[in-house]
Symmetry: D2
Subunit: 144 residues, 4 copies
Protein backbone atom coordinates (compact mmCIF):
# COMPACT_ATOMS: atom_id res chain seq x y z
CA UNK A 1 0.00 0.00 0.00
CA UNK A 2 1.52 3.29 -1.06
CA UNK A 3 0.53 6.86 -0.29
CA UNK A 4 -0.79 9.26 -2.93
CA UNK A 5 1.92 9.89 -5.49
CA UNK A 6 2.01 12.35 -8.31
CA UNK A 7 4.21 13.24 -11.27
CA UNK A 8 4.42 16.65 -12.81
CA UNK A 9 6.72 18.12 -15.42
CA UNK A 10 8.76 21.30 -15.34
CA UNK A 11 11.06 22.71 -17.97
CA UNK A 12 14.28 24.26 -16.62
CA UNK A 13 14.30 28.03 -17.15
CA UNK A 14 17.37 30.12 -17.95
CA UNK A 15 16.63 32.09 -14.78
CA UNK A 16 17.13 28.90 -12.77
CA UNK A 17 20.69 28.24 -13.96
CA UNK A 18 23.81 29.76 -12.45
CA UNK A 19 27.28 30.47 -13.80
CA UNK A 20 28.40 26.89 -13.16
CA UNK A 21 26.07 26.07 -16.06
CA UNK A 22 23.66 24.04 -13.92
CA UNK A 23 20.50 24.73 -11.96
CA UNK A 24 21.11 26.70 -8.76
CA UNK A 25 20.45 24.43 -5.79
CA UNK A 26 17.67 26.43 -4.12
CA UNK A 27 15.43 26.00 -7.16
CA UNK A 28 14.87 22.34 -6.38
CA UNK A 29 12.84 23.51 -3.38
CA UNK A 30 10.70 25.60 -5.71
CA UNK A 31 10.02 22.51 -7.81
CA UNK A 32 9.16 20.53 -4.67
CA UNK A 33 6.48 23.15 -4.03
CA UNK A 34 5.19 22.71 -7.57
CA UNK A 35 5.08 18.96 -6.91
CA UNK A 36 3.09 19.33 -3.67
CA UNK A 37 0.56 21.64 -5.26
CA UNK A 38 0.04 19.39 -8.26
CA UNK A 39 -0.32 16.33 -6.02
CA UNK A 40 -3.07 18.18 -4.13
CA UNK A 41 -4.73 19.22 -7.38
CA UNK A 42 -4.63 15.61 -8.50
CA UNK A 43 -6.50 14.66 -5.31
CA UNK A 44 -9.15 17.23 -6.17
CA UNK A 45 -7.89 20.15 -4.09
CA UNK A 46 -6.65 23.58 -5.00
CA UNK A 47 -4.03 24.81 -2.56
CA UNK A 48 -5.23 28.33 -3.34
CA UNK A 49 -8.67 27.48 -1.99
CA UNK A 50 -7.20 25.48 0.85
CA UNK A 51 -5.64 28.75 2.02
CA UNK A 52 -8.55 31.00 1.17
CA UNK A 53 -11.60 28.94 2.05
CA UNK A 54 -10.30 26.59 4.73
CA UNK A 55 -7.63 28.88 6.23
CA UNK A 56 -5.19 25.98 5.94
CA UNK A 57 -1.60 26.91 5.27
CA UNK A 58 0.98 24.21 4.72
CA UNK A 59 3.94 25.84 6.44
CA UNK A 60 7.40 24.35 5.92
CA UNK A 61 9.18 23.19 9.07
CA UNK A 62 11.98 21.18 7.49
CA UNK A 63 13.38 20.68 4.03
CA UNK A 64 16.24 18.66 2.66
CA UNK A 65 17.57 17.73 -0.72
CA UNK A 66 20.28 15.37 -1.96
CA UNK A 67 21.77 16.39 -5.27
CA UNK A 68 22.93 13.45 -7.37
CA UNK A 69 23.43 14.98 -10.80
CA UNK A 70 23.04 18.52 -12.12
CA UNK A 71 19.84 19.65 -13.80
CA UNK A 72 20.62 21.55 -16.98
CA UNK A 73 19.04 24.41 -18.84
CA UNK A 74 16.01 23.37 -20.92
CA UNK A 75 15.89 19.91 -19.36
CA UNK A 76 12.41 18.51 -19.09
CA UNK A 77 12.13 17.26 -15.52
CA UNK A 78 9.69 14.95 -13.84
CA UNK A 79 8.93 15.90 -10.24
CA UNK A 80 7.63 12.81 -8.46
CA UNK A 81 5.92 13.73 -5.19
CA UNK A 82 4.70 11.31 -2.57
CA UNK A 83 2.92 11.71 0.76
CA UNK A 84 5.21 10.08 3.30
CA UNK A 85 3.14 10.65 6.39
CA UNK A 86 -0.03 12.47 7.41
CA UNK A 87 -0.80 13.35 11.00
CA UNK A 88 -3.37 15.66 12.52
CA UNK A 89 -1.12 18.66 12.27
CA UNK A 90 1.78 17.67 10.07
CA UNK A 91 2.42 16.29 6.60
CA UNK A 92 5.63 14.85 5.26
CA UNK A 93 6.32 14.72 1.54
CA UNK A 94 9.08 12.96 -0.40
CA UNK A 95 10.33 13.98 -3.83
CA UNK A 96 12.35 12.68 -6.70
CA UNK A 97 13.55 14.84 -9.56
CA UNK A 98 14.19 12.88 -12.74
CA UNK A 99 15.42 13.98 -16.14
CA UNK A 100 13.14 13.02 -19.03
CA UNK A 101 13.51 11.02 -21.11
CA UNK A 102 15.43 8.22 -19.48
CA UNK A 103 14.31 8.99 -15.96
CA UNK A 104 17.81 9.72 -14.74
CA UNK A 105 17.58 10.53 -11.04
CA UNK A 106 18.93 14.02 -10.33
CA UNK A 107 17.81 14.63 -6.77
CA UNK A 108 15.73 13.35 -3.89
CA UNK A 109 14.23 15.35 -1.07
CA UNK A 110 11.82 15.56 1.81
CA UNK A 111 9.81 18.30 3.45
CA UNK A 112 7.92 18.39 6.71
CA UNK A 113 5.00 20.78 7.08
CA UNK A 114 2.85 22.07 9.89
CA UNK A 115 -0.76 22.98 9.18
CA UNK A 116 -1.35 26.56 10.32
CA UNK A 117 -4.05 29.18 10.11
CA UNK A 118 -3.37 32.53 8.48
CA UNK A 119 -1.75 33.88 11.65
CA UNK A 120 0.70 31.00 11.70
CA UNK A 121 -0.89 29.11 14.59
CA UNK A 122 -0.89 25.29 14.20
CA UNK A 123 -4.27 23.72 13.57
CA UNK A 124 -5.67 20.34 12.62
CA UNK A 125 -5.90 19.36 9.01
CA UNK A 126 -9.61 19.25 8.05
CA UNK A 127 -10.99 15.75 7.67
CA UNK A 128 -11.41 15.86 3.89
CA UNK A 129 -7.70 16.49 3.39
CA UNK A 130 -6.70 13.88 6.00
CA UNK A 131 -8.77 11.35 4.16
CA UNK A 132 -7.61 12.18 0.68
CA UNK A 133 -3.95 12.37 1.64
CA UNK A 134 -4.07 9.05 3.53
CA UNK A 135 -6.13 7.04 1.07
CA UNK A 136 -7.37 5.37 -1.11
CA UNK A 137 -3.81 4.88 -2.24
CA UNK A 138 -2.73 4.08 1.31
CA UNK A 139 -0.72 6.69 3.17
CA UNK A 140 0.09 6.64 6.82
CA UNK A 141 -2.72 8.26 8.82
CA UNK A 142 -2.16 9.16 12.44
CA UNK A 143 -2.68 6.25 14.79
CA UNK A 144 -5.62 6.82 17.16
CA UNK B 1 17.60 71.45 -7.70
CA UNK B 2 17.56 67.68 -7.63
CA UNK B 3 15.15 65.19 -6.11
CA UNK B 4 16.06 62.93 -3.21
CA UNK B 5 18.77 60.57 -4.35
CA UNK B 6 20.25 57.60 -2.59
CA UNK B 7 23.07 55.13 -3.05
CA UNK B 8 23.08 51.64 -1.66
CA UNK B 9 25.41 48.72 -2.18
CA UNK B 10 24.63 45.13 -3.12
CA UNK B 11 27.01 42.24 -3.63
CA UNK B 12 26.09 39.95 -6.55
CA UNK B 13 25.02 36.51 -5.32
CA UNK B 14 25.73 33.23 -7.07
CA UNK B 15 21.97 32.70 -7.20
CA UNK B 16 21.65 35.81 -9.34
CA UNK B 17 23.96 34.62 -12.12
CA UNK B 18 22.91 32.45 -15.04
CA UNK B 19 24.77 30.05 -17.29
CA UNK B 20 25.98 32.87 -19.52
CA UNK B 21 28.18 33.74 -16.53
CA UNK B 22 26.48 37.07 -15.88
CA UNK B 23 23.59 38.29 -13.75
CA UNK B 24 20.18 37.23 -15.05
CA UNK B 25 18.34 40.29 -16.33
CA UNK B 26 15.28 40.14 -14.05
CA UNK B 27 17.49 40.58 -10.98
CA UNK B 28 18.14 44.21 -11.82
CA UNK B 29 14.48 44.85 -10.97
CA UNK B 30 15.05 43.26 -7.58
CA UNK B 31 17.95 45.64 -6.97
CA UNK B 32 15.78 48.58 -8.06
CA UNK B 33 13.40 47.57 -5.28
CA UNK B 34 16.30 47.51 -2.82
CA UNK B 35 17.23 50.99 -4.04
CA UNK B 36 13.68 52.37 -3.53
CA UNK B 37 13.41 50.97 -0.04
CA UNK B 38 16.79 52.30 1.03
CA UNK B 39 15.99 55.73 -0.41
CA UNK B 40 12.81 55.76 1.70
CA UNK B 41 14.76 54.64 4.76
CA UNK B 42 17.22 57.44 4.16
CA UNK B 43 14.30 59.89 4.20
CA UNK B 44 13.26 58.50 7.58
CA UNK B 45 10.63 56.02 6.43
CA UNK B 46 10.38 52.28 6.66
CA UNK B 47 8.49 50.82 3.70
CA UNK B 48 7.41 48.02 6.04
CA UNK B 49 5.59 50.53 8.24
CA UNK B 50 4.34 52.47 5.27
CA UNK B 51 2.45 49.30 4.31
CA UNK B 52 1.44 48.29 7.83
CA UNK B 53 0.66 51.57 9.54
CA UNK B 54 -0.35 53.83 6.65
CA UNK B 55 -1.82 51.16 4.36
CA UNK B 56 0.31 52.61 1.55
CA UNK B 57 1.52 50.15 -1.04
CA UNK B 58 3.83 51.30 -3.81
CA UNK B 59 2.49 49.15 -6.64
CA UNK B 60 4.52 48.89 -9.83
CA UNK B 61 2.76 50.04 -13.00
CA UNK B 62 5.74 50.22 -15.34
CA UNK B 63 9.34 49.14 -15.26
CA UNK B 64 12.17 49.35 -17.74
CA UNK B 65 15.85 48.68 -17.76
CA UNK B 66 18.65 49.29 -20.26
CA UNK B 67 21.53 46.88 -19.91
CA UNK B 68 24.90 48.40 -20.87
CA UNK B 69 27.37 45.92 -19.45
CA UNK B 70 26.98 42.63 -17.60
CA UNK B 71 27.07 42.48 -13.82
CA UNK B 72 29.29 39.64 -12.66
CA UNK B 73 29.30 37.28 -9.73
CA UNK B 74 30.66 38.83 -6.54
CA UNK B 75 30.68 42.34 -8.03
CA UNK B 76 30.04 45.05 -5.50
CA UNK B 77 27.37 47.24 -7.08
CA UNK B 78 26.16 50.70 -6.28
CA UNK B 79 22.43 51.17 -6.84
CA UNK B 80 21.78 54.88 -7.31
CA UNK B 81 18.09 55.68 -6.91
CA UNK B 82 16.44 59.01 -7.57
CA UNK B 83 12.88 60.29 -7.29
CA UNK B 84 11.99 61.48 -10.78
CA UNK B 85 8.48 62.66 -10.08
CA UNK B 86 5.97 62.65 -7.24
CA UNK B 87 2.26 63.21 -7.82
CA UNK B 88 -0.72 62.66 -5.56
CA UNK B 89 -1.09 59.04 -6.59
CA UNK B 90 2.05 58.14 -8.48
CA UNK B 91 5.81 58.12 -7.99
CA UNK B 92 8.46 57.70 -10.63
CA UNK B 93 11.95 56.51 -9.73
CA UNK B 94 15.13 56.39 -11.83
CA UNK B 95 18.05 54.04 -11.22
CA UNK B 96 21.64 53.56 -12.16
CA UNK B 97 23.58 50.41 -11.43
CA UNK B 98 27.32 50.97 -11.20
CA UNK B 99 30.18 48.59 -10.58
CA UNK B 100 32.42 49.55 -7.66
CA UNK B 101 35.15 50.57 -7.69
CA UNK B 102 35.44 52.68 -10.78
CA UNK B 103 31.74 53.42 -11.07
CA UNK B 104 31.38 51.70 -14.41
CA UNK B 105 27.76 52.12 -15.51
CA UNK B 106 26.10 48.72 -16.00
CA UNK B 107 22.44 49.62 -16.34
CA UNK B 108 19.89 52.38 -16.07
CA UNK B 109 16.20 52.02 -15.37
CA UNK B 110 12.91 53.61 -14.41
CA UNK B 111 9.82 52.49 -12.58
CA UNK B 112 6.41 54.09 -12.25
CA UNK B 113 4.29 53.29 -9.21
CA UNK B 114 0.71 53.83 -8.15
CA UNK B 115 -0.05 54.31 -4.46
CA UNK B 116 -2.65 51.74 -3.43
CA UNK B 117 -4.31 50.50 -0.27
CA UNK B 118 -4.06 46.85 0.73
CA UNK B 119 -6.89 45.89 -1.61
CA UNK B 120 -5.09 47.41 -4.55
CA UNK B 121 -7.28 50.50 -4.87
CA UNK B 122 -5.38 53.72 -5.77
CA UNK B 123 -5.16 56.30 -3.01
CA UNK B 124 -3.36 59.55 -2.34
CA UNK B 125 0.11 59.50 -0.91
CA UNK B 126 -0.04 60.84 2.67
CA UNK B 127 1.32 64.36 3.06
CA UNK B 128 4.44 63.38 5.02
CA UNK B 129 5.65 61.16 2.16
CA UNK B 130 4.74 63.76 -0.48
CA UNK B 131 6.76 66.31 1.37
CA UNK B 132 9.78 64.14 2.02
CA UNK B 133 9.91 62.77 -1.50
CA UNK B 134 9.56 66.21 -3.09
CA UNK B 135 11.92 68.16 -0.86
CA UNK B 136 14.16 69.54 0.67
CA UNK B 137 16.39 68.19 -2.05
CA UNK B 138 14.01 69.43 -4.72
CA UNK B 139 11.89 66.84 -6.48
CA UNK B 140 8.98 67.53 -8.77
CA UNK B 141 5.77 67.80 -6.71
CA UNK B 142 2.44 67.74 -8.51
CA UNK B 143 1.43 71.10 -9.90
CA UNK B 144 -1.76 72.46 -8.28
CA UNK C 1 1.48 39.96 -42.53
CA UNK C 2 2.53 39.34 -38.97
CA UNK C 3 5.74 38.05 -37.46
CA UNK C 4 6.05 34.63 -35.79
CA UNK C 5 3.88 34.56 -32.70
CA UNK C 6 3.64 31.95 -30.00
CA UNK C 7 1.55 31.16 -26.96
CA UNK C 8 2.76 29.22 -23.98
CA UNK C 9 1.23 28.54 -20.60
CA UNK C 10 2.73 28.99 -17.14
CA UNK C 11 1.16 28.32 -13.78
CA UNK C 12 1.98 30.90 -11.10
CA UNK C 13 4.17 29.38 -8.38
CA UNK C 14 4.01 30.27 -4.71
CA UNK C 15 7.66 31.29 -4.95
CA UNK C 16 6.66 33.96 -7.45
CA UNK C 17 4.23 35.76 -5.16
CA UNK C 18 5.16 38.41 -2.62
CA UNK C 19 3.59 39.61 0.60
CA UNK C 20 1.21 41.91 -1.28
CA UNK C 21 -0.47 38.66 -2.36
CA UNK C 22 0.41 39.10 -6.03
CA UNK C 23 3.24 38.08 -8.31
CA UNK C 24 6.46 40.03 -7.70
CA UNK C 25 7.11 42.28 -10.69
CA UNK C 26 10.50 40.91 -11.73
CA UNK C 27 8.98 37.50 -12.44
CA UNK C 28 7.22 38.79 -15.54
CA UNK C 29 10.66 39.08 -17.12
CA UNK C 30 11.27 35.42 -16.31
CA UNK C 31 8.05 34.52 -18.12
CA UNK C 32 9.08 36.66 -21.09
CA UNK C 33 12.18 34.48 -21.30
CA UNK C 34 9.99 31.37 -21.23
CA UNK C 35 7.93 32.92 -24.04
CA UNK C 36 10.98 33.62 -26.22
CA UNK C 37 12.38 30.14 -25.79
CA UNK C 38 9.07 28.47 -26.60
CA UNK C 39 8.61 30.68 -29.67
CA UNK C 40 12.02 29.54 -30.89
CA UNK C 41 11.16 25.91 -30.16
CA UNK C 42 7.98 26.35 -32.15
CA UNK C 43 10.08 27.54 -35.09
CA UNK C 44 12.14 24.36 -34.82
CA UNK C 45 15.02 25.70 -32.74
CA UNK C 46 16.32 24.87 -29.31
CA UNK C 47 17.85 27.87 -27.60
CA UNK C 48 20.11 25.44 -25.76
CA UNK C 49 21.61 24.30 -29.08
CA UNK C 50 21.63 27.82 -30.43
CA UNK C 51 24.06 28.63 -27.61
CA UNK C 52 26.02 25.39 -27.73
CA UNK C 53 26.24 24.58 -31.42
CA UNK C 54 25.97 27.99 -33.06
CA UNK C 55 27.57 30.07 -30.29
CA UNK C 56 24.60 32.43 -30.52
CA UNK C 57 23.56 34.10 -27.29
CA UNK C 58 20.49 36.31 -27.23
CA UNK C 59 21.72 38.95 -24.79
CA UNK C 60 19.20 41.38 -23.35
CA UNK C 61 19.88 45.05 -24.05
CA UNK C 62 16.53 46.51 -23.02
CA UNK C 63 13.44 45.28 -21.22
CA UNK C 64 10.22 46.91 -20.24
CA UNK C 65 6.91 45.84 -18.82
CA UNK C 66 3.58 47.57 -18.19
CA UNK C 67 1.59 46.03 -15.38
CA UNK C 68 -2.18 46.32 -15.85
CA UNK C 69 -3.56 43.86 -13.32
CA UNK C 70 -1.93 41.62 -10.76
CA UNK C 71 -1.16 37.99 -11.53
CA UNK C 72 -2.23 35.78 -8.65
CA UNK C 73 -1.00 32.56 -7.12
CA UNK C 74 -2.01 29.47 -9.08
CA UNK C 75 -3.28 31.52 -12.03
CA UNK C 76 -2.87 29.80 -15.33
CA UNK C 77 -1.27 32.39 -17.59
CA UNK C 78 -0.87 32.60 -21.32
CA UNK C 79 2.39 34.20 -22.43
CA UNK C 80 1.94 35.50 -25.96
CA UNK C 81 5.27 36.25 -27.60
CA UNK C 82 5.79 37.93 -30.93
CA UNK C 83 8.84 38.85 -32.97
CA UNK C 84 8.63 42.60 -33.46
CA UNK C 85 11.76 43.09 -35.49
CA UNK C 86 14.73 41.08 -36.69
CA UNK C 87 17.93 42.70 -37.86
CA UNK C 88 21.36 41.25 -38.55
CA UNK C 89 22.46 41.68 -34.96
CA UNK C 90 19.35 42.46 -32.95
CA UNK C 91 15.93 40.99 -32.25
CA UNK C 92 13.00 42.71 -30.65
CA UNK C 93 10.21 40.71 -29.00
CA UNK C 94 6.81 41.84 -27.70
CA UNK C 95 4.83 40.04 -25.00
CA UNK C 96 1.37 39.89 -23.56
CA UNK C 97 0.54 38.09 -20.34
CA UNK C 98 -3.09 36.99 -20.14
CA UNK C 99 -5.01 35.20 -17.44
CA UNK C 100 -6.77 32.01 -18.57
CA UNK C 101 -9.60 31.49 -18.99
CA UNK C 102 -11.08 34.76 -20.12
CA UNK C 103 -7.86 36.14 -21.55
CA UNK C 104 -7.77 39.09 -19.20
CA UNK C 105 -4.72 41.17 -20.09
CA UNK C 106 -2.36 41.46 -17.10
CA UNK C 107 0.76 42.91 -18.65
CA UNK C 108 2.51 43.84 -21.87
CA UNK C 109 6.21 44.10 -22.48
CA UNK C 110 9.08 44.34 -24.92
CA UNK C 111 12.68 43.24 -24.96
CA UNK C 112 15.53 44.12 -27.29
CA UNK C 113 18.39 41.68 -27.70
CA UNK C 114 21.83 41.70 -29.25
CA UNK C 115 23.20 38.51 -30.75
CA UNK C 116 26.55 37.76 -29.12
CA UNK C 117 29.11 34.99 -29.08
CA UNK C 118 30.08 33.30 -25.82
CA UNK C 119 32.47 36.09 -24.93
CA UNK C 120 29.75 38.68 -25.28
CA UNK C 121 30.94 40.12 -28.61
CA UNK C 122 28.09 41.07 -31.01
CA UNK C 123 27.79 38.87 -34.07
CA UNK C 124 25.36 38.34 -36.93
CA UNK C 125 22.43 36.06 -36.50
CA UNK C 126 22.97 32.96 -38.68
CA UNK C 127 20.83 32.88 -41.80
CA UNK C 128 18.55 30.02 -40.67
CA UNK C 129 17.41 31.99 -37.64
CA UNK C 130 17.03 35.21 -39.63
CA UNK C 131 14.83 33.38 -42.07
CA UNK C 132 12.70 31.58 -39.54
CA UNK C 133 12.21 34.62 -37.36
CA UNK C 134 11.27 36.82 -40.31
CA UNK C 135 9.03 34.42 -42.20
CA UNK C 136 6.88 32.68 -43.41
CA UNK C 137 4.62 34.52 -41.00
CA UNK C 138 6.05 37.85 -42.09
CA UNK C 139 8.36 39.61 -39.66
CA UNK C 140 10.51 42.59 -40.37
CA UNK C 141 13.84 41.46 -41.82
CA UNK C 142 16.65 43.95 -42.03
CA UNK C 143 16.50 46.08 -45.17
CA UNK C 144 19.50 45.52 -47.46
CA UNK D 1 38.53 24.35 19.57
CA UNK D 2 36.01 25.49 17.03
CA UNK D 3 36.14 25.68 13.25
CA UNK D 4 36.18 28.98 11.35
CA UNK D 5 32.92 30.78 11.94
CA UNK D 6 31.57 33.89 10.31
CA UNK D 7 28.65 36.27 10.66
CA UNK D 8 27.22 38.29 7.85
CA UNK D 9 24.11 40.44 7.60
CA UNK D 10 21.36 40.39 4.99
CA UNK D 11 18.28 42.55 4.79
CA UNK D 12 15.12 40.70 3.67
CA UNK D 13 13.99 41.88 0.24
CA UNK D 14 10.40 42.22 -0.88
CA UNK D 15 11.22 39.77 -3.67
CA UNK D 16 12.02 37.15 -1.05
CA UNK D 17 8.59 37.20 0.62
CA UNK D 18 5.57 35.22 -0.50
CA UNK D 19 1.84 35.71 -0.12
CA UNK D 20 1.88 34.15 3.35
CA UNK D 21 3.68 37.36 4.36
CA UNK D 22 6.92 35.61 5.24
CA UNK D 23 10.12 34.71 3.42
CA UNK D 24 9.71 31.88 0.92
CA UNK D 25 11.57 28.83 2.19
CA UNK D 26 13.99 28.34 -0.69
CA UNK D 27 15.57 31.74 -0.01
CA UNK D 28 17.24 30.48 3.13
CA UNK D 29 19.47 28.38 0.88
CA UNK D 30 20.42 31.54 -1.00
CA UNK D 31 21.45 33.14 2.31
CA UNK D 32 23.45 30.03 3.22
CA UNK D 33 25.40 30.61 0.02
CA UNK D 34 25.98 34.24 1.02
CA UNK D 35 27.21 32.96 4.40
CA UNK D 36 29.68 30.49 2.83
CA UNK D 37 31.12 33.08 0.49
CA UNK D 38 31.58 35.66 3.24
CA UNK D 39 33.20 33.08 5.51
CA UNK D 40 35.69 32.35 2.73
CA UNK D 41 36.30 36.06 2.19
CA UNK D 42 36.93 36.42 5.89
CA UNK D 43 39.59 33.72 5.60
CA UNK D 44 41.23 35.72 2.84
CA UNK D 45 39.71 33.96 -0.17
CA UNK D 46 37.44 35.11 -2.93
CA UNK D 47 35.17 32.33 -4.14
CA UNK D 48 35.19 34.04 -7.54
CA UNK D 49 38.95 33.52 -7.77
CA UNK D 50 38.71 30.08 -6.28
CA UNK D 51 36.61 29.15 -9.33
CA UNK D 52 38.59 31.14 -11.88
CA UNK D 53 42.18 30.75 -10.77
CA UNK D 54 42.13 27.43 -8.92
CA UNK D 55 39.34 25.73 -10.89
CA UNK D 56 37.75 24.82 -7.55
CA UNK D 57 33.98 24.67 -7.52
CA UNK D 58 32.16 24.01 -4.27
CA UNK D 59 29.30 21.90 -5.62
CA UNK D 60 26.34 21.19 -3.34
CA UNK D 61 25.65 17.53 -2.63
CA UNK D 62 23.21 17.90 0.25
CA UNK D 63 21.28 20.72 1.85
CA UNK D 64 18.86 20.89 4.71
CA UNK D 65 17.12 23.56 6.70
CA UNK D 66 14.93 23.58 9.81
CA UNK D 67 12.55 26.51 9.96
CA UNK D 68 11.80 27.66 13.52
CA UNK D 69 10.21 31.07 13.00
CA UNK D 70 9.36 33.06 9.89
CA UNK D 71 11.72 35.70 8.54
CA UNK D 72 9.81 38.85 7.67
CA UNK D 73 10.13 41.56 5.09
CA UNK D 74 12.82 44.13 5.92
CA UNK D 75 14.19 42.05 8.80
CA UNK D 76 17.88 42.47 9.34
CA UNK D 77 19.23 38.94 9.59
CA UNK D 78 22.49 37.57 10.84
CA UNK D 79 23.72 34.53 8.89
CA UNK D 80 26.14 32.62 11.11
CA UNK D 81 28.20 30.15 9.09
CA UNK D 82 30.54 27.56 10.48
CA UNK D 83 32.81 24.94 8.91
CA UNK D 84 31.65 21.63 10.33
CA UNK D 85 34.09 19.37 8.58
CA UNK D 86 36.79 19.58 5.94
CA UNK D 87 38.05 16.55 4.10
CA UNK D 88 40.21 16.22 1.00
CA UNK D 89 37.24 16.40 -1.32
CA UNK D 90 34.29 17.55 0.76
CA UNK D 91 33.32 20.41 3.05
CA UNK D 92 30.40 20.54 5.42
CA UNK D 93 28.99 23.87 6.61
CA UNK D 94 26.44 24.64 9.33
CA UNK D 95 24.26 27.74 9.46
CA UNK D 96 22.10 29.69 11.82
CA UNK D 97 19.80 32.47 10.72
CA UNK D 98 19.06 34.96 13.49
CA UNK D 99 16.89 38.06 13.53
CA UNK D 100 18.68 41.24 14.67
CA UNK D 101 18.42 42.71 17.16
CA UNK D 102 17.69 40.15 19.81
CA UNK D 103 19.29 37.25 17.99
CA UNK D 104 16.05 35.31 17.74
CA UNK D 105 16.85 32.00 16.02
CA UNK D 106 14.81 31.62 12.84
CA UNK D 107 16.44 28.66 11.17
CA UNK D 108 19.35 26.25 11.22
CA UNK D 109 20.82 24.35 8.34
CA UNK D 110 23.65 22.29 6.91
CA UNK D 111 25.16 21.77 3.50
CA UNK D 112 27.61 19.21 2.21
CA UNK D 113 29.78 20.07 -0.77
CA UNK D 114 32.07 18.22 -3.11
CA UNK D 115 35.07 20.03 -4.57
CA UNK D 116 34.91 19.77 -8.35
CA UNK D 117 36.73 21.16 -11.36
CA UNK D 118 34.83 23.14 -13.99
CA UNK D 119 33.63 19.96 -15.68
CA UNK D 120 32.10 18.72 -12.45
CA UNK D 121 34.74 16.07 -11.72
CA UNK D 122 35.64 15.74 -8.01
CA UNK D 123 39.11 16.93 -7.09
CA UNK D 124 41.13 17.59 -3.95
CA UNK D 125 40.83 20.90 -2.20
CA UNK D 126 44.15 22.77 -2.63
CA UNK D 127 46.30 22.86 0.48
CA UNK D 128 45.83 26.57 1.23
CA UNK D 129 42.06 26.15 1.50
CA UNK D 130 42.40 22.95 3.55
CA UNK D 131 44.62 24.77 5.96
CA UNK D 132 42.57 27.91 6.28
CA UNK D 133 39.28 26.05 6.64
CA UNK D 134 40.70 23.69 9.27
CA UNK D 135 42.69 26.17 11.36
CA UNK D 136 43.88 28.23 13.21
CA UNK D 137 40.37 28.34 14.65
CA UNK D 138 40.32 24.55 14.85
CA UNK D 139 38.12 22.76 12.36
CA UNK D 140 38.07 19.05 11.71
CA UNK D 141 40.72 18.18 9.11
CA UNK D 142 40.66 14.76 7.54
CA UNK D 143 42.33 12.13 9.69
CA UNK D 144 45.40 10.58 8.05
Amino acid sequence: MTAPCHETTVRVRYAETDQMGVVYYANFLVWFEVGRVELLRDLGFSYREMEKLDDCHIVVAEARCSYKKPALYDDSLCIRTRVLQVRRKTIRFAYEVLRSPGAELLATGETLHVICNRSGRPKSLPEKYMKALSSPAGGHPAKP
